[in-house]
Symmetry: C2
Subunit: 111 residues, 2 copies
Amino acid sequence: MEHNHNDILNRVRHEMPTDELLCDLSDLFKIFGDTTRLKIMYSLLEGELCVCAVAELLGMTQSAISHQLKILKDAKLVGNRRDGKTIYYFLLDEHVRDIVAEGFEHLLEER
Amino acid sequence: MEHNHNDILNRVRHEMPTDELLCDLSDLFKIFGDTTRLKIMYSLLEGELCVCAVAELLGMTQSAISHQLKILKDAKLVGNRRDGKTIYYFLLDEHVRDIVAEGFEHLLEER
DNA sequence: CGTTCATATGAATATCTATTCATATGTTAG
DNA sequence: CTAACATATGAATAGATATTCATATGAACG
């Protein structure tokens, strides 16, 4: 019993990712943990959009959207390209779709 | 061009989940957005553990772990059972594994 | 029943973060 | 070069949240 208990603890300790990896992982999920950013990512699922289009779409200020886009870009979840004065943002990673989908599945199962 | 733009906006508006669903989704990801909770979930991947075992494993106080376990339980990510004085926690949802795995894939691709 | 052990919980605090406001950067048109 | 427009960004603020501390609950055991 006691042996079994320590056995599990040792196995868990062994399988546990490094703190650095866990920080990276939680930082990634933090990004998905905000409705504004989720909405932005959803918007970009259909195709690239400029900052002002996203702002109009979500009914938020250009500044707020710009700040959030920077966070998404730093996380390499979105990229952008310039066309004259306007800057278009687009999703960089197919995993965005998958991560969100997994989240939904939990919500559905939860009822 | 202008037509095309509005076209996209309308499509996006149409595909956007309700605010309630987006809040539920961001609340779920918020839970994954914390290293302590990630560590707890990782620990429970191997099997059920009592509160004090988790606390010992993570080198944190019983109180801190208990607070976090409550959050995980409210989100229906873990369940618990009592055996005498000790209470064992376990993962409730296979999606935990999948969600974490998706997160990792993004990190790896990010290089 | 009273003590001990495992866990839960409320309040307080310190830290983090999303938005706002003001302003800066950078591009195009005239 | 200057005005107008799109976007970025720094500082400040308000709200959220993880941990701590003190204490409560609840079970087992003598």
